[in-house]
């Protein structure tokens, strides 16, 4: 069976049931593809065993890019391209550059972080988000399990595990 195509979905009504269910399902050796919920569920990344996000690293690198860009731009403009004496200071008066440097650092860090997040979570304009169940934007939590990844367990066993963990429904979903 091909990976990332056929999923079994456990639908949950309540986030406390969901949090317990994630631990139970993972305890049975099932690898969870993703859990979708209509609102942030506190502590869900811990029970899913997610590692810390790498987003802060992206933010730091984009921030550094902003710092470098701002300083280079100002030194080029003020010292090389069109030297001017302002307030009797040096052409390259470093303290004057700090506000602009700060602003560009923050701007690029913020834009970079949003951009990386959009791309990493498949929210990019040309992306095709996959909808597992429309009710995940309303009142249901959905746990998606890739059948191919968990082929050793079989559909019947997976369905039993989901039901016994408190799922209100168990559905199947296939993507082209």
């Amino acid at each position: 069976m091909e990976r990332d195509k056929n999923f079994i979905l456990g639908v949950y009504d309540d986030e406390d049931v969901l949090l317990d269910a994630i631990s139970k399902v993972r305890g049975n050796g099932v690898k969870i593809h993703e859990v979708y919920s209509p609102f942030p569920v506190h502590g869900i990344d811990d029970v899913l065993g997610y590692k810390r996000s790498k987003l802060p690293i992206a933010a730091f690198l984009f921030g550094m890019l902003g710092t470098t860009l701002a300083l280079t731009m100002q030194f080029y403009m003020m010292k090389i391209d069109w030297p001017m004496i302002i307030g009797g200071k040096d052409h390259a008066a470093f303290p004057d550059f700090i506000p602009v440097t700060f602003e560009l650092t923050v701007l690029l860090a913020a834009f970079g972080m949003v951009g990386v997040f959009m791309i990493a979570s498949n929210l990019k304009p040309w992306g095709q988000p996959r909808i597992f169940d429309v009710r995940i934007t309303d009142d249901k939590h959905v746990m998606a399990i890739d059948l191919a990844v968990n082929s050793s367990l079989g559909e019947g066993k997976l369905s039993d595990v989901l039901k016994s963990s408190g799922a209100s429904e168990v559905n199947f979903k296939s993507f082209e």
Partner: protein
């Protein structure tokens, strides 16, 4: 879920052991020895300093002692009042996360009455050597020393008495500020201890009311005390940022001190219900307000630098173009901005005691340098510097404050056990 605060011993008290008292006392003795050595060296071998002195204002070694006394007293007064301020903020903001830490914040206030007595008594001894505006001749039109600018500001110090006599208004403000801070501290402290005896919400609502009143008073008094006790040293100069600047410096130093005590107690097995999430929040406060202080410092510096008006820029000329003080400007920025900014940026550093212990200790030293740079150039000029007297006085004040804070912390329960938000704090997770 089975977890709740009832699993913990909420009646735990901090045991201020004889060993710990001995260590603090040792630091006090070391400080006293270093200070005495510094005084002896300055008093006996002071020829070098006096050779520079000219005219009417000969430099005497005791002026440096006085300046040090003033630096440390203003600095540790700030740390003490910030303890009460941070306690009050928790109630005004209806914060739940900090419920088990409140007694630590509050215990810093015990230094306030002592600081107030030292401040008022020492003003009468050291005031004339620290504050230029205390010189009588500045206000005498017929005197060659007559200073029109200071004469214009005179009423701020001397009203309703005649300028150049007794600084009534200045002393009244000092007494009122300390008096009100101590009264508010006592009120909050008593209400908090009463809560231990009376379960229920009524104490919490009363503390919130008194906290809000204290915050309104502190907003005004912290600013004015910064003008009075620090900015008036450079009598001609003024900065509209100064109140905030001193407050920011006090706040970071106070937060660092409170974090240090929390980590210290946690390491010794107290405060069981305080976990990495609470420590993380304290770390965030230290990190954020280090940047806040830098923002204020830089805003004050950049405007003066950019505009370059002589009467304003003289403040930074005295510091940046001085052989004695210019290195400390960079020490100040390194310890109070670059170090906390780079080290505390990651989540892990804010959650682990060891990083916080190192950074908070350095910030406490760093902000002492901030006050050193505010006071010494205006009082001692080129005769100042960082030497034995500075180290000794800092150790003496530091160990005394630590003793008073820990001693009073050990007298009551460490955790306000009937605080209505303890359960919320137990589940705190970030």
């Amino acid at each position: 879920m089975g977890h709740s605060t009832t699993n913990y011993n909420l009646d735990q008290k901090f045991d201020f052991s004889a060993g710990l008292k001995k260590s603090i006392f040792t630091v006090l003795i070391i400080g006293a020895v270093i200070l005495t050595a510094g005084i002896l060296m300055a008093a006996l071998g002071g020829g070098h300093d006096e050779a520079h002195a000219e005219g009417a204002h000969a430099f005497h070694w005791y002026k440096r002692l006085y300046a040090n006394l003033w630096i440390n007293n203003v600095y540790f007064t700030g740390i003490a009042v910030i303890g009460v301020f941070f306690f009050a903020i928790q109630y005004a903001a209806q914060a739940g996360w900090s419920a088990p830490l409140l007694r630590i914040f509050l215990s810093f206030g015990y230094w306030l009455p002592i600081a107030g007595v030292i401040m008022i008594v020492s003003y009468f001894i050291v005031g004339h050597d620290i504050f230029h505006w205390t010189h009588k001749t500045l206000f005498d039109v017929n005197s060659p020393d007559y200073d029109k600018i200071i004469d214009g500001k005179g009423a701020f110090f001397f009203w309703p008495l005649e300028k150049g006599t007794f600084p009534a208004f200045f002393i009244i403000r000092m007494v009122v500020f300390f008096g009100a801070w101590v009264l508010f501290f006592n009120k909050l402290k008593n209400l908090s201890y009463q809560e231990d005896l009376n379960p229920g919400n009524q104490s919490w609502f009363k503390i919130r009311k008194w906290s809000a009143l204290f915050l309104v008073f502190f907003a005004v008094s912290s600013s004015i005390s910064a003008w009075d006790w620090v900015m008036s040293i450079d009598t001609h100069w003024f900065s509209t940022m100064f109140g905030w600047y001193v407050f920011a410096s006090w706040f970071v130093a106070g937060l660092s001190a409170m974090t240090l005590v929390t980590v210290f107690l946690k390491e010794r097995g107290y405060l069981e219900m305080v976990n990495a999430n609470h420590i993380h929040d304290l770390g965030k406060f230290v990190f954020a307000f280090s940047i806040f202080w830098t923002y204020i410092w830089f805003s004050q510096f950049l405007l003066i630098y950019y505009a370059n008006i002589p009467e304003e820029s003289v403040y930074f000329v005295e510091r940046l173009q001085s052989d004695v003080y210019s290195p400390f400007i960079f020490v100040n920025l390194a310890l109070n901005f670059f170090l906390p900014f780079l080290v505390l940026m990651t989540r892990d550093a804010k959650r682990h005691g060891i990083f916080l212990k190192v950074i908070c200790s350095l910030i406490i030293v760093g902000h002492w340098f901030d006050f050193f740079l505010m006071v010494q150039p205006g009082t001692l000029g080129h005769n100042g510097g960082f030497g034995l007297m500075e180290v000794g006085m800092l150790l003496i004040f530091g160990s005394l404050v630590t003793y008073v804070v820990l001693n009073n912390l050990s007298k009551q329960n460490l955790i306000a056990k009937n605080h209505p938000m303890l359960e919320e704090s137990y589940h705190h997770h970030i």
